[in-house]
């Protein structure tokens, strides 16, 4: 499969904070990626650098074999629809919604005006309203419509559903899939609401503390972990040799989340085996990643 975007050894510092600490990432053509990480993990910084809106202190970013930074030919192929906010560093954002659409129309050569209009109706959005008068949900809708209608071959959505209620979130994923099937492109979508989005992501990229923790096919990742529960001694026997990523017990009962190696024989033990949600896998792996990172770090004087 063709690579559309690639970064190597990307480091980004803000003062004394290292926001990205050596990121290597390769994105394939026409896949939907989920970008998952805690607050402050470096998701938005990474998207900004991949989109060429910000520069990396070290490392390289290239798209279709060309460097992204200050390359207008490449940048118009990448749409990074940021989370909008009602106020900017210079005070309230009084631009009207239609002005943002006008800018997008000029910037993105593949912009689909008809589609943008249909989406406006679908989301019941008033384009004459100024940005600072929009609710959180409406702000999310504006960035979603710009991202979808840009028809950019590489589209980033940063927390697109953050301000949306459950009805609108469902609608968003439906619209995204419908359009993706008609007009395939590469998406990266960051979200905190993991489980409802996980069926849409072909692959997930888990980030923590400025690094890529893991990048894997979503279904393969889910199939790799399982809960095993039962009597403490039986469970311990059943999971011998397996990596435990989480453990919780109550009295003599024990539940562990283990990484499977494909040839487990749980049937011979009196234990229950059940699947683990993507959100839980993310939580356990992050906990583990952070505890090993802390252990490896030099002790503070």
């Amino acid at each position: 499969m063709a690579t559309v975007l690639e970064c190597n050894g990307v480091i980004k510092r803000f003062g004394k904070t290292t926001a990205l600490n050596g990121v290597d990432l390769t994105l394939d053509e026409n896949k939907i990626y989920g970008l998952i990480g805690r607050n402050g993990a470096g998701k938005t910084t990474l998207l900004g650098i991949l989109a060429g809106q910000n520069f990396a202190d070290e490392g390289s970013v290239s798209s279709y074999g060309l460097p992204v930074w200050e390359n207008s030919e490449v940048m118009e192929k990448i749409c990074f629809s940021r989370e909008l906010s009602a106020s900017t560093a210079f005070g309230p954002d009084t631009r009207k919604v239609k002005e943002l659409f006008r800018i997008a129309r000029i910037f993105y050569p593949n912009w689909d005006e008809e589609y943008a209009k249909r989406l406006l109706v679908e989301f019941k959005l008033d384009i004459k309203k100024p940005i600072n008068k929009l609710s959180k949900g409406m702000l999310s809708m504006v960035s979603i419509i710009i991202a979808l209608a840009s028809r950019a071959p590489i589209t980033f959505l940063d927390e697109p559903v953050a301000g949306l209620d459950v009805m609108m979130r469902e609608k968003f994923y439906q619209l995204l899939l419908d359009d993706y099937m008609e007009n395939p492109r590469t998406y990266i979508i960051s979200t905190h609401i993991i489980d409802e989005a996980s069926n849409v992501f072909e692959e997930v990229v888990l980030v923590d503390a400025g690094r890529i923790m893991l990048k894997r096919n979503t279904e393969e990742l889910r199939a790799q972990y399982a809960y095993v529960s039962g009597r403490e001694d039986t469970v311990s026997e059943a999971i011998k040799g397996l990596q435990v990523v989480h453990r919780e017990g109550l009295g003599k009962s024990l539940t562990v989340c283990v990484r499977l190696n494909g040839n487990e024989q749980f049937e011979q033990y009196d234990v229950d085996v059940s699947p683990v949600s993507l959100q839980k896998i993310f939580v356990y792996l992050t906990e583990q990643y952070e505890s090993t990172a802390n252990a490896a770090a030099p002790a503070l004087a």
Binding site: Q174, L177, M181, T218, E219, A223, P275
Partner: protein, 124 residues
Amino acid sequence: MNTNLNTEQSIYIQIARKIEDDILRDILAEGEAIPSTNQLAALYKINPATAAKGVNILVDEGILFKKRGIGMFVTEGGKRQIIVKRKEGFYEKYVVSLVREARQLNIDTEELVEMIKRVQHSGQ
């Protein structure tokens, strides 16, 4: 096709199983075209690559076959093949767990057999 997916199994395995269910119930007849990958993805709100993976499991098993440029079809004899395959899994999936739960509840063999007969007689 029933459109609820659960979190118990891989999504593509569930897609394959739902297609099988429709073949077993004669909703999809042998020789008939199944819904396209995109239709399945839209119905279940899943990534089309995942839907394709589910369909491909059945292609690999010979239950479905691909007509280039047209779509996927149910193989002649596909229904029988599903029945044979599911019978093999029936013991592991249902009988073993049934006996295990019965043991936990101190239900002896005689009582268990009695219960099975009761279900069969009631025509459920």
